[in-house]
């Protein structure tokens, strides 16, 4: 089993009876998971002394009245809960507990695009650089490029993003003055945060691709392709890589989670006005309704994207199609 810091990655999906039945089942479990997350976070917020759902709290009366009306605090608990759920279903994540006039939806609309840019860039860097390095290492197994890749990837999986980010900032921004140290807006601002965030997953993907590529290269059909006289580049890039990157697709689920939680840190280091920075700020400020709303938002995004990854995986891996009901 392939592991990342002790977390087993599910590199073998369960075999679906038919594609459609599998998709329906998967969708159902995703919706159920979102519901559990909403319920658990709702209970957490109720359990917090001095939290938004306690009636005694020191906040401006205008906001207090707002919160009490919005969350139906005069009603029994189960009605509050059902009301909250129905708001979430309609896409309304509620007002801020600390700042008048701010809503969670407004915060997301303003800040999520920034985090999305950073996340997408990180994702692309990690996949392209990781897969590239892994393929090269596998092709030059036991030689310098292989050792170099393994050396750097070993270091890479042991350097947390906040260390890598701070080091980059010190050298590239303060010492050599190559890149701006903070803020957001131009492509030059994106380079350091994206590298800081992509470092660990790139290293992991390189190792993953290398071992899976070596597996594929040793299989019979590679020898067949060679015996048929196919050109080497075609064997490698068309026949081998296509199968070797299947584990990488499965890893993209955990990668998404990593990029998301990593953004909490990296956006803070580089003062990027994204959603991750705001999440951490609202933890500092004890802005509980925003914490609640953003947690639900993050969960929906992740559970949804993970579902897409699972679908993509079942579509891409020919072994799964073969075992399905389409024969």
């Amino acid at each position: 089993m392939v592991m990342l810091f002790g977390i087993p990655l599910p590199l073998t999906a369960e075999v679906p009876a038919t594609m459609l039945a599998y998709m329906v089942k998967r969708l159902f479990s995703a919706v159920f998971a979102v519901w559990v997350v909403i319920t658990v976070t709702f209970i957490f917020m109720h359990a917090i002394p001095g939290g938004p759902f306690q009636t005694e709290k020191a906040i401006p009366p205008a906001i207090k009245a707002n919160i009490e009306a919005r969350y139906k605090l005069d009603q029994p608990l189960h009605i509050q809960y059902v009301d909250y759920l129905s708001h979430v279903v309609r896409g309304d994540l509620g007002p801020s507990f600390k700042y008048r006039g701010q809503t969670v939806n407004g915060i997301i609309a303003e800040r999520f695009p920034v985090s999305f840019q950073l996340g997408l860039l990180t994702f692309v860097i990690a996949i392209v650089a990781g897969v590239g390095a892994g393929i090269i290492a596998a092709l030059y197994q036991g030689r310098l490029p292989d050792y170099a890749t393994m050396f750097f990837s070993t270091i890479g999986i042991s350097v947390p993003s906040f260390i890598l980010g701070t080091l980059l900032m010190y050298f590239l921004a303060f010492k050599w003055g190559l890149l701006p140290a903070a803020m957001w807006g131009t492509p030059r601002h994106m380079i350091m945060p994206a590298i800081a965030l992509a470092g660990l997953p790139t290293a992991f993907i390189a190792r993953l691709t290398r071992s899976s590529m070596l597996d594929v290269l040793n299989q019979d059909y590679m020898r067949t392709a060679l015996a048929k006289g196919l050109p080497r580049w075609r064997i490698i890039w068309v026949h081998a890589v296509k199968n070797a990157i299947i584990p990488v697709i499965t890893y993209s689920g955990p990668l998404l989670a990593y990029v998301l939680t990593g953004s909490f840190i990296v956006e803070n280091i580089f003062a990027i006005p994204g959603l991750g920075k705001h999440f951490v700020t609202s933890i500092y400020n004890r802005d509980y309704t925003v914490i609640l709303g953003l947690t639900i938002f993050y969960s929906i995004i992740l559970i949804g994207l993970n579902m897409m990854v699972d679908f993509a995986y079942t579509l891409v891996d020919p072994r799964i199609k073969l075992l399905g009901g389409k024969e």
Binding site: F5, S29, F44, G51, F162, F174
Partner: protein, 312 residues
């Protein structure tokens, strides 16, 4: 009836030992033998032992404590008096890094132990009973898995921060223990369940069943000991994960409270004065990276040593 005395003489020894018999070695001796042959894992093991010694005894040998402030010596670089320099409040950085090692190792150890107990019991029961029980138990794990464990830990820390307000700086640490304990057993439960599912079909489990061994005894005395290899590897690899999580939490302000020092907190403090005093980042950063590296290498080495499939 009389027996001649000659019949009771032992047979000469050399006729008995005709063939060479290798002294039998246990699974654990074999694993240790293989681990010893892995230089990277052994260096990591030595590093971890040294780190534990420094974390436990180091602070007693320092003339300073982690909270001693000296306003005449703020933000100093490394010197013979303060080997790692001093921070913005004139505190000795070396003793603070050693204190951080205590916190990180404590967090790692507690995470590994809770992972071990909760994960093994949960996964073992799920895998052994199978059927509907297994379905429900694993569905719960799947749902908890569906959002990143860091998000769970953050939510729990937000809750614990108010439920157990920090008194004297200690409570933050216990909240971290509790939050990690509640979340970290998930991968272990999955792995143990997978192991038990295959082990329970094997002959020795069936044999135990036919002689009437009670269910709990089959599970805990026969099946789980046979899954110990993967269990130990998973527990070892949960240590760096926990250390990283503590650093992460401290970095976003949810970790231990001042004046205590953890590595994540030291790195986060260093960030504010990075331009002028980069030495403040150097030592905590090195400590985190080397420790994560050592535990990851040791975990990999243990996996190679304990996995019988690798045996040639």
């Amino acid at each position: 009836m009389q027996y001649p005395v000659e019949l009771f003489r032992p047979i000469a020894e050399k006729t008995v030992q005709t063939e060479m018999v290798r002294p039998s070695i246990t699974y654990w001796q074999d694993a240790w033998r293989r681990l010893k042959k892995n230089p990277v894992a052994m260096v990591s093991l030595v590093f971890i032992v040294l780190l534990i010694l420094v974390a436990v005894f180091g602070p007693y040998f320092s003339p300073y404590t982690y909270s001693d402030q000296d306003f005449d010596r703020r933000n100093q670089g490394p010197s013979s008096e303060h080997w790692f320099g001093t921070d913005a409040l004139g505190r000795d950085q070396m003793v603070r890094v050693m204190h951080g090692a205590r916190i990180s190792l404590a967090v790692g150890f507690v995470a590994a132990v809770t992972t071990f107990f909760i994960g093994v019991i949960y996964g073992g029961i799920s895998g052994y009973l199978g059927g509907r029980v297994d379905n429900v138990m694993m569905r719960i794990v799947d749902i908890l898995y569906s959002i990143p464990f860091l998000l769970w830990v953050i939510m729990l820390m937000v809750l614990f921060r108010e439920l157990f307000p920090a008194t004297g700086g200690g409570a933050g640490l216990y909240s971290i223990f509790l939050a990690l304990g509640l979340v970290f057993w998930l991968p272990m439960a999955r792995i143990v369940r997978g192991q038990i599912l295959t082990l329970k079909e094997q002959e020795f489990a069936l044999a135990a069943q036919t002689i009437g061994a009670p269910q709990w005894k089959i599970l805990f005395r026969h099946l789980i000991p046979n899954a110990m290899g993967p269990i130990i590897v998973t527990a070892t690899l949960s240590i760096p994960e926990a250390i990283f999580t503590e650093a992460f939490l401290s970095f976003i302000g949810l970790g231990v409270s001042a004046p205590r020092a953890s590595w994540g907190m030291l790195s986060s403090d260093a960030l504010t004065s990075l331009r002028s005093f980069p030495h403040l980042l150097l030592f905590p950063a090195l400590a985190i990276c080397l420790t994560l590296l050592a535990f990851n290498f040791l975990g990999d080495g243990l996996r190679d040593a304990l996995d019988p499939r690798m045996r040639k």
